[in-house]
Amino acid sequence: MSQFDRHSGCPFHRRTDRSQPALAQSDASTSAHPERRRFLKGAGLTGLGLGLGGIGLGGTCPARALAATGHGQDVTSAPQEQDSQLRYPFYGHHQQGIVTPRPATGMLVAFDVLARDRDDLERLLKILTERMAFLTQGGSIPERNPLFPPPDSGILGPVVAPDGLTMTLAVGDSLFDQRFGLAGARPKRLQRMEGFPNDALDAARCHGDLALQICANTLDTGYHALRDIIKNTPGLLMVRWKQEGTVPLLPPAPGDSDGSARNFLGFRDGSANPDGDDDALMDELVWVGGDHDEPAWARGGSYLAARIIRNFVERWDRTPLQEQEMIFGRRKMSGAPLSGDGTEGKEQDVPDYRRDPEGEITPLDAHIRLANPRTPATEKNRILRRPFNYSNGVEANGQLDMGLLFLCFQADLEAGFITVQHRLDGEPLEEYIKPVGGGYFFVLPGARDANDFLGSGLLAASA
């Protein structure tokens, strides 16, 4: 039992057995008091695994309790620890892997659906739900007569550890074509991703009928999960493209501030992300609800915008630091917004652009200023970013193929990513980046319990 548990107002976090996900909705109203964050950081995060075990449930308590573990204020805070027994509940109103703190690795896998009719599609969704429920909770792999191929790849050994695995299933615009009769239930803002002016989209890395986000402490856990899915869905799914990535682990150190993990341009990525622990804010910005003008079945879901954004890192590394900072609008090391007077702030500081109308401190076309102008009118355009850094090998010119697997979630795709990206069109950063793939998807509402399956509402609504 940890310091954290004694201080938590949430009864479901008093358990010591992490193998049992909390099953009840909590009405606890604990909030993340800053003083407790500090206290817990000092206490060495002993309760981290327990606290994390509750998130993703859909209740308010677990997410808040999580913030109190010192994990930080953001979904994108650098991951601090790799507990192989870390387990996130699978069932709930929302799917996991969105407001869940970002672990050290993540991948997005897009699939073409091979199922030929609605019955096959339903069978596919049930298999996916069943496998995701098992994989994210972990357990022993089944044994089989050794004359047969083993049912599990075995790459994690005889017992699959949950390892912080989250799996998040989303549907693409193409799933709503004539094949399955879903057109009438299409989420209103779901659409095929169109190229933006700086894009050089590679058709082989775009779109998909389904997308599965797989995040875990280690890539092996993600690969194990993916191979399990493939093994269990022959004839139903075909991988279309996949991109994995990582974010650097930042071990807790005395006096170290919470900070967003860095991207491959060396800047902290995720600063000023909306607070994933703030349920009201998430209901406004991330989760589709009754106010979002979407089909009723879609409530509890979210839009995912995925982008594979190549970074020209050699060129970036040959760019003066001052210019890099002007392009982003932040100091590189601290992540603080530019101050203009030589004082060094903090990553969490909020820039006041009203006092800098000419862009003398933060250029008007700086990345963070375009992305989030911090005006009342642009508050609704905020998105929850959850990106990973990728490295794919070497280009023919000898330059590294590195970049950002940009993933963001929002309740309104148009007000969110699409609006933000249009504001960024033409930004100076474009000289150093090139989006080459990705797609738009709608994250299905969660599966309520073991009798439900992901997409049940969609099928019922289009029956």
């Binding site: 009719d117 191929p149 075909m238």
Partner: protein, 287 residues
Amino acid sequence: MKRTRQWIATGAFALLPLAPITALLAAPAAQAAVAPEALVGPVADYKLYVLDNLEQLVSHTRDFTAAIEAGDVEKAQALYAPTRVYYERIEPIAELFADLDASIDAREDDYEKGVEDPDFTGFHRLEYALFHDHSTDGMEKYAQGLMDDVNDLDSRVQGLTFPPETVVGGAAALMEEVAATKVSGEEDRYSRTDLWDFQGNVDGAREIFELFKPLAAQEDPDFVERVQANFDDVEETLADYRLDADDPSAGFESYDEVSDADRRALTGPVTVLAEDLSTLRGLLGLN
């Protein structure tokens, strides 16, 4: 092509699902049920099938290589795919001789220097000359080499004792071939005659399945029904691409004509067959 849409509309060929894992785990432990002597008949029959196809391979290769030596590009092009079919059918056995498989059927990707690699020989080297260069210049030695290799294969197989596990496992191996290199259209990239090879692999896998079907049916009738239906499914799809429905020897449309959607439609039943047939050895209690 119209095929996919028509399929979806009618649902006439509903893909038969794999048994869920739980059912697989509960499947009867088969190793004791099939007596080893019960395998003798089907294995002997399979050897006859292989020898028959080898005889055809030898004679077709003779015509094919003669056309190259005669400098008749058009005729050699026409004979390329129909000749290879016999090799594709018996690949599980042919592959037992790795040296010959490499010299007969390797692709340019198997060599670091690609087409320029001096070790790149056999069918695909000749395919490159016929369909890329549209020429037989300098190909005599490759033609002669292929003929020698095929004769060598024929004589080696005559004396070969067929291991039952190789024969039974061959069905799955052939479907793995299809899944890995046929659906993607990598196999015959210059001639685009991939569908011939595709059919050859399916023929070979189906032959094995049919020979062992009675034994498999004793162990798991549902399995047999499922595999049969998926084979039918694949063959129905392939038949759609035949140039003449009543004349199999007329062959297939170019793989370029197969749309992405249809490639995906082929992937489904092929993958299910690969998964299902991967259990055939276990079902018959073979190591």
